[in-house]
Point group: C2
Chain length 207, copies 2
Amino acid sequence: MNPDKSDISKKNIKWHEISIDRRKLEKMHGHKGMVLWFTGLSGSGKSTLANALNEALHLRGISTYVLDGDNIRHGLCKDLGFSDSDREENIRRIGEVANLFMNAGIVAITAFVSPFKVDRDKVRSIIGNNDFVEIYCAANLSVCEKRDTKGLYKKARLGEIKEFTGISSPYEIPENPEITIDTGNIGLKDSVQEIINYLDKRFDIEK
Amino acid sequence: MNPDKSDISKKNIKWHEISIDRRKLEKMHGHKGMVLWFTGLSGSGKSTLANALNEALHLRGISTYVLDGDNIRHGLCKDLGFSDSDREENIRRIGEVANLFMNAGIVAITAFVSPFKVDRDKVRSIIGNNDFVEIYCAANLSVCEKRDTKGLYKKARLGEIKEFTGISSPYEIPENPEITIDTGNIGLKDSVQEIINYLDKRFDIEK
């Protein structure tokens, strides 16, 4: 409803029919909102692949946003540590924020280890199966540890980091992810293309 | 950087220069990201005005999203109650999420009572003065209580709701809000226009 066409009197500003809902926002952006959820060990290439995918989608005019450690742990979740309950809450909040972006008609891309199935499944239930794409970056531990891009595995082996996923805390491999990328063996360009192909086929996301 | 132009080898997927940053996202959306923060008593017209403004901005092709009680209290903040510390954390999280939307190049619109100056100022410091527009809906208590659109004032007077802003808990009037709308006396259409005029003048948001 256009404000100019409203019959709102000066004394009564109730006007609850107005709603720019998800459908309208998706129409404006030219594609559906959804959540692309990357999961995998530290060093498995989640962030790199998420950002490369983001670049590729952006170049196609798709409205995207990447949620990752940089913008979440220093802001929304800066009150959380790394206890089991804090990690669970961290993933829950990220899922809720991704849901808001999706409802805004945006393609939300997340890149977090998210090692536990129960937490990922909780996010899936928040988002809904129709809009959730779990992308497993399947590089194995030896590859990730050899890369050790941030030096974290070394510290974990020395006991300087406790409960490090893959070393002293489990990573639960996704049982039925929508996409599995063998990031230990497949290059970035091919990995991006594989995801794009999936999205085109399932959602007809091409603009 | 286009993935096709990358020199990423199969065995090394480090590629940290990729970045679709705020500037690129704003360019894509055709306007800057910002946060429009409505504050005021329950019944002062925050949600109504926020939604009417959202409609007007949407019709001008601006990418927006409204954060309000409906999509926040049932999701991201459903673990929070109404104690002082929970209310503070509620507003903090909303500020952080609004900041993410702003960084995604979106005009984030929030509609919460947010009665305490310290909490609103904390949000202002998260967002930054250049991108934050505090909009005070200044209908006075008697007007809001007479409207009592949700029947909350009646319950508060009966003591059925504790610490209700304006009745049993203070509302701290903003000292220097960017915009004050006299929602007790000005109609919806004029209120929307006043905000649009401000945004056009300050940000040249017209597309």
